[in-house]
Protein backbone atom coordinates (compact mmCIF):
# COMPACT_ATOMS: atom_id res chain seq x y z
CA UNK A 1 0.00 0.00 0.00
CA UNK A 2 1.10 3.55 -0.61
CA UNK A 3 2.27 5.81 2.17
CA UNK A 4 3.18 9.47 2.51
CA UNK A 5 5.37 10.72 5.34
CA UNK A 6 5.75 14.30 6.47
CA UNK A 7 8.16 14.12 9.39
CA UNK A 8 7.62 17.63 10.73
CA UNK A 9 4.36 18.62 12.40
CA UNK A 10 5.48 22.22 12.76
CA UNK A 11 8.08 24.25 10.94
CA UNK A 12 8.76 27.73 12.19
CA UNK A 13 10.89 30.10 10.10
CA UNK A 14 11.61 33.80 9.98
CA UNK A 15 10.32 35.97 7.19
CA UNK A 16 12.81 35.98 4.36
CA UNK A 17 14.38 32.67 5.35
CA UNK A 18 14.34 29.65 3.06
CA UNK A 19 11.66 27.04 3.55
CA UNK A 20 11.78 23.30 2.95
CA UNK A 21 8.84 21.10 3.84
CA UNK A 22 9.81 17.46 3.65
CA UNK A 23 7.76 14.71 2.06
CA UNK A 24 8.73 11.10 1.46
CA UNK A 25 6.58 8.43 -0.10
CA UNK A 26 6.41 4.72 -0.70
CA UNK A 27 4.52 3.28 -3.65
CA UNK A 28 5.22 0.34 -5.90
CA UNK A 29 3.76 1.99 -9.01
CA UNK A 30 4.44 5.22 -10.85
CA UNK A 31 3.37 8.01 -8.48
CA UNK A 32 1.76 11.34 -9.03
CA UNK A 33 2.67 13.74 -6.28
CA UNK A 34 0.89 16.87 -5.14
CA UNK A 35 1.17 19.56 -2.53
CA UNK A 36 -2.01 20.95 -0.99
CA UNK A 37 -2.30 24.01 1.25
CA UNK A 38 -4.94 25.01 3.76
CA UNK A 39 -4.91 28.61 4.93
CA UNK A 40 -6.73 29.57 8.10
CA UNK A 41 -10.51 29.28 7.64
CA UNK A 42 -10.18 28.35 3.98
CA UNK A 43 -10.74 25.13 2.15
CA UNK A 44 -7.99 22.75 1.19
CA UNK A 45 -6.59 23.74 -2.18
CA UNK A 46 -4.10 22.39 -4.64
CA UNK A 47 -0.76 24.18 -4.56
CA UNK A 48 1.24 22.33 -7.17
CA UNK A 49 1.65 19.06 -9.05
CA UNK A 50 4.91 17.32 -9.87
CA UNK A 51 3.75 16.57 -13.38
CA UNK A 52 3.53 20.24 -14.32
CA UNK A 53 6.90 21.23 -12.85
CA UNK A 54 5.51 24.66 -12.07
CA UNK A 55 6.26 27.31 -9.49
CA UNK A 56 3.26 28.60 -7.57
CA UNK A 57 3.53 31.51 -5.13
CA UNK A 58 7.30 31.02 -5.26
CA UNK A 59 7.08 27.38 -4.20
CA UNK A 60 8.65 24.55 -6.15
CA UNK A 61 8.87 20.82 -5.61
CA UNK A 62 10.93 18.26 -7.47
CA UNK A 63 10.10 14.59 -7.56
CA UNK A 64 13.18 12.55 -6.67
CA UNK A 65 12.38 8.94 -7.45
CA UNK A 66 15.74 7.71 -6.19
CA UNK A 67 15.11 9.16 -2.75
CA UNK A 68 11.31 8.80 -3.04
CA UNK A 69 10.92 12.40 -1.98
CA UNK A 70 8.89 15.41 -3.05
CA UNK A 71 10.08 18.23 -0.82
CA UNK A 72 8.42 21.65 -1.08
CA UNK A 73 10.78 24.61 -1.22
CA UNK A 74 10.68 28.36 -1.26
CA UNK A 75 13.77 30.57 -1.16
CA UNK A 76 12.26 33.41 0.88
CA UNK A 77 9.32 32.84 3.22
CA UNK A 78 6.53 35.39 3.48
CA UNK A 79 4.06 35.89 6.31
CA UNK A 80 1.19 34.90 4.05
CA UNK A 81 2.79 31.50 3.55
CA UNK A 82 1.76 30.51 7.08
CA UNK A 83 -0.62 27.60 6.62
CA UNK A 84 -1.01 23.85 6.83
CA UNK A 85 0.70 21.98 4.01
CA UNK A 86 -0.14 18.45 2.94
CA UNK A 87 1.82 16.24 0.61
CA UNK A 88 -0.29 13.74 -1.32
CA UNK A 89 0.27 10.78 -3.61
CA UNK A 90 -2.19 9.66 -6.25
CA UNK A 91 -2.20 6.03 -7.28
CA UNK A 92 -2.40 4.98 -10.91
CA UNK A 93 -5.53 3.80 -12.72
CA UNK A 94 -9.08 5.02 -13.31
CA UNK A 95 -10.01 4.33 -9.69
CA UNK A 96 -7.08 6.35 -8.41
CA UNK A 97 -6.90 7.38 -4.79
CA UNK A 98 -5.17 10.30 -3.17
CA UNK A 99 -3.26 9.45 -0.01
CA UNK A 100 -2.23 12.32 2.24
CA UNK A 101 0.57 12.82 4.70
CA UNK A 102 -0.24 14.07 8.17
CA UNK A 103 0.63 17.63 7.23
CA UNK A 104 3.13 20.25 8.32
CA UNK A 105 2.14 23.56 9.81
CA UNK A 106 4.35 26.32 8.48
CA UNK A 107 4.64 29.33 10.73
CA UNK A 108 6.42 32.37 9.34
CA UNK A 109 7.35 34.96 11.93
CA UNK A 110 8.80 38.46 11.69
Amino acid sequence: AQRVTQPEKLLSVFKGAPVELKCNYSYSGSPELFWYVQYSRQRLQLLLRHISRESIKGFTADLNKGETSFHLKKPFAQEEDSAMYYCALKTAGTASKLTFGTGTRLQVTL
Partner: protein, 113 residues
Protein backbone atom coordinates in the same frame (compact mmCIF):
# COMPACT_ATOMS: atom_id res chain seq x y z
CA UNK B 1 -16.09 26.13 -14.53
CA UNK B 2 -16.51 23.31 -12.08
CA UNK B 3 -17.68 23.89 -8.53
CA UNK B 4 -18.27 21.61 -5.58
CA UNK B 5 -20.83 22.27 -2.89
CA UNK B 6 -20.98 20.62 0.47
CA UNK B 7 -23.49 21.14 3.26
CA UNK B 8 -24.15 21.75 6.02
CA UNK B 9 -21.03 23.59 7.18
CA UNK B 10 -21.54 22.57 10.79
CA UNK B 11 -23.72 19.99 12.45
CA UNK B 12 -24.31 18.96 16.03
CA UNK B 13 -26.09 15.66 16.42
CA UNK B 14 -26.91 13.44 19.42
CA UNK B 15 -25.48 9.97 19.73
CA UNK B 16 -27.72 7.44 18.03
CA UNK B 17 -29.24 9.89 15.58
CA UNK B 18 -29.00 9.47 11.80
CA UNK B 19 -26.67 11.46 9.55
CA UNK B 20 -26.84 12.68 5.99
CA UNK B 21 -24.18 14.92 4.47
CA UNK B 22 -24.56 15.95 0.88
CA UNK B 23 -22.07 16.91 -1.78
CA UNK B 24 -22.78 18.01 -5.33
CA UNK B 25 -20.52 18.91 -8.22
CA UNK B 26 -21.41 21.27 -11.05
CA UNK B 27 -19.86 21.88 -14.43
CA UNK B 28 -18.58 18.39 -15.15
CA UNK B 29 -19.91 14.93 -15.86
CA UNK B 30 -18.96 11.50 -14.56
CA UNK B 31 -16.54 12.79 -11.93
CA UNK B 32 -14.76 10.57 -9.45
CA UNK B 33 -16.11 11.48 -6.02
CA UNK B 34 -14.55 11.06 -2.59
CA UNK B 35 -15.33 11.43 1.09
CA UNK B 36 -12.45 12.17 3.47
CA UNK B 37 -12.28 12.75 7.19
CA UNK B 38 -9.72 15.23 8.46
CA UNK B 39 -8.43 14.81 11.99
CA UNK B 40 -5.86 17.00 13.70
CA UNK B 41 -2.41 15.44 13.56
CA UNK B 42 -3.62 12.58 11.41
CA UNK B 43 -4.06 14.17 8.04
CA UNK B 44 -6.88 13.22 5.72
CA UNK B 45 -8.26 9.72 5.71
CA UNK B 46 -10.11 8.45 2.65
CA UNK B 47 -13.46 6.97 3.66
CA UNK B 48 -15.26 6.27 0.38
CA UNK B 49 -14.82 6.81 -3.31
CA UNK B 50 -17.02 6.42 -6.34
CA UNK B 51 -16.20 6.21 -10.04
CA UNK B 52 -19.82 6.14 -11.19
CA UNK B 53 -23.50 6.11 -10.20
CA UNK B 54 -24.17 3.39 -7.67
CA UNK B 55 -20.50 2.42 -7.48
CA UNK B 56 -19.12 2.86 -3.99
CA UNK B 57 -15.84 1.62 -2.57
CA UNK B 58 -15.15 1.73 1.14
CA UNK B 59 -11.65 2.24 2.40
CA UNK B 60 -12.09 1.68 6.11
CA UNK B 61 -14.68 -0.26 8.10
CA UNK B 62 -16.80 2.10 10.11
CA UNK B 63 -20.21 3.26 11.14
CA UNK B 64 -20.71 5.27 7.97
CA UNK B 65 -21.93 4.54 4.46
CA UNK B 66 -21.97 6.41 1.17
CA UNK B 67 -24.28 6.54 -1.81
CA UNK B 68 -24.25 8.10 -5.23
CA UNK B 69 -27.84 8.38 -6.43
CA UNK B 70 -26.99 10.75 -9.27
CA UNK B 71 -23.90 11.39 -11.37
CA UNK B 72 -22.85 14.49 -9.49
CA UNK B 73 -24.26 13.79 -6.05
CA UNK B 74 -22.47 12.01 -3.25
CA UNK B 75 -24.03 11.39 0.16
CA UNK B 76 -22.43 10.32 3.41
CA UNK B 77 -24.79 8.65 5.86
CA UNK B 78 -25.10 6.88 9.14
CA UNK B 79 -28.07 5.16 10.72
CA UNK B 80 -26.84 5.73 14.27
CA UNK B 81 -24.05 8.14 15.08
CA UNK B 82 -21.31 7.35 17.56
CA UNK B 83 -19.22 9.82 19.52
CA UNK B 84 -16.22 8.69 17.50
CA UNK B 85 -17.88 9.88 14.30
CA UNK B 86 -17.17 13.47 15.28
CA UNK B 87 -14.78 15.16 12.90
CA UNK B 88 -14.34 17.28 9.82
CA UNK B 89 -15.67 15.68 6.66
CA UNK B 90 -14.53 16.70 3.22
CA UNK B 91 -15.98 15.86 -0.15
CA UNK B 92 -13.77 16.00 -3.24
CA UNK B 93 -13.97 15.34 -6.94
CA UNK B 94 -11.53 14.66 -9.74
CA UNK B 95 -11.86 14.01 -13.47
CA UNK B 96 -10.08 10.70 -12.95
CA UNK B 97 -7.29 11.56 -15.36
CA UNK B 98 -3.54 11.59 -15.05
CA UNK B 99 -2.13 14.90 -13.92
CA UNK B 100 -5.24 16.12 -12.14
CA UNK B 101 -5.48 16.53 -8.41
CA UNK B 102 -8.66 16.58 -6.39
CA UNK B 103 -10.82 19.63 -5.73
CA UNK B 104 -12.23 19.79 -2.24
CA UNK B 105 -15.43 21.17 -0.81
CA UNK B 106 -15.48 23.49 2.17
CA UNK B 107 -16.17 20.67 4.61
CA UNK B 108 -18.65 19.81 7.35
CA UNK B 109 -17.73 19.99 11.02
CA UNK B 110 -19.70 17.22 12.71
CA UNK B 111 -19.95 17.08 16.48
CA UNK B 112 -21.70 14.13 18.03
CA UNK B 113 -22.86 14.84 21.58
Amino acid sequence: SQTIHQWPATLVQPVGSPLSLECTVEGTSNPNLYWYRQAAGRGLQLLFYSVGIGQISSEVPQNLSASRPQDRQFILSSKKLLLSDSGFYLCAWSPGQVGYGYTFGSGTRLTVV
